[in-house]
Symmetry: C2
Subunit: 214 residues, 2 copies
């Protein structure tokens, strides 16, 4: 599906507003006004408000054809390096599309989801979990990773941490006295800290054998 400049404009405004105020909390008149088009253009172009968010998902999902799948095959990288690449790739993707991933997280919190959208999300999550599973199994076979790792919870920690960090970034700014930092600089800073933090977390967890008391 190809979209005209006007259509893309509508989609992008909708993305921002859905992210800020939620789907139900955003009216088509809000979108029309900020996108500088007539209200009726939304139904005219997309059919309905519901179809609009589906178009947004369709578009963003089609863009996310990840380069990870091929990079993962690289023989020159050791398991830890591959995991680190996966972490940075996830950080880049989520922090580079904060509005969209905010919407996606909101969708996952809802119990009344559109089948079309939840299918998209399920497929994407499946890909992510399988990717990490493949990487960790590789590391285990190479003998560098410990055996008893909860694969799906490792994914949960990766995406849960990034999502939550993005959701609470204002709070992070405040308690770390970074309120004077320029927005762009702060984004870079947060990315770097997240990267260090998650790599440290994953490396030590995945490589060290140890038992948990209690």
């Amino acid at each position: 599906m190809e979209y005209s400049a006007k259509q893309l404009q509508i989609i992008e405004v909708a993305e921002r507003l859905f992210s800020q105020k939620g789907f139900a909390g955003t009216s088509v008149r809000d979108i029309a006004q900020e996108a500088d088009v007539n209200v009726s253009m939304i139904s005219y172009y997309f059919g309905s408000k519901e179809k609009l968010i589906e178009a947004l998902f369709q578009l963003r999902m089609s863009e996310s054809r990840s380069r990870m799948e091929v990079l993962i095959q690289d023989e020159d990288l050791n398991p830890i390096q591959k995991i680190n690449m996966l972490i940075d790739s996830a950080i880049d993707k989520l922090m580079g599309n904060q509005c969209f991933h905010n919407i996606m997280l909101r969708e996952q919190l809802s119990s009344e989801r559109t089948p079309v959208i939840s299918d998209h999300i399920r497929k994407l999550k499946m890909r992510n979990v399988e990717l990490m599973q493949q990487l960790i199994l590789e590391g285990q076979e190479a003998g560098v990773f410990r055996k008893n790792i909860d694969l799906s919870l490792m994914s949960t920690t990766l995406y849960g941490t990034i999502n939550y960090a993005i959701a609470t970034q204002d709070f992070y700014r405040k308690i770390n006295n970074l309120e004077d930092m320029e927005e762009e600089e702060f984004q870079k800073y947060l990315k770097r800290r997240l990267s260090q933090h998650l790599k440290s977390l994953f490396k030590s967890t995945v490589t060290n054998e140890h038992h948990i008391e209690n």
Copy 2:
């Protein structure tokens, strides 16, 4: 503030519906119907829909007077044991009030928040972060914890992981072939796995010195 049985009934129904469909996605008529009261009773008791969700926050926040603060002082526990207690306490709290914490997470995703509510959330998060900070500093002074730990990102990982695990629990069920498990049993199972996972994560990260390449 004291609430009658009817008022509590309304609050509890509202909590469930806000959790399932979001605040804007839930109508006062939905709430009234499921709570088996007349629509006007919501304005009559709480003043408005907005005041209703504020009452919900007020109530749940007042209940959450954590026992952690005192248990943390226990001299007989070593730093790791205290961290483990903090983890289990967080899991219990979030998984025991999934609806409310779902709403709270949604609020944090919104940029147009009610000041009353975002104040409550900020205060709660501050408490949590300070608690973990205190524990980790204690471990560092005792010489068992490494020095370069991103304190606020440890909190982010703890709450981000639990929140995301709850949000995606259906997916977790599916990929781990647990679809036949009874709901109650699954909740216990997820709690146990989360506990093991997070304790393993924290212990290895917090105790082992190592540098991160890249």
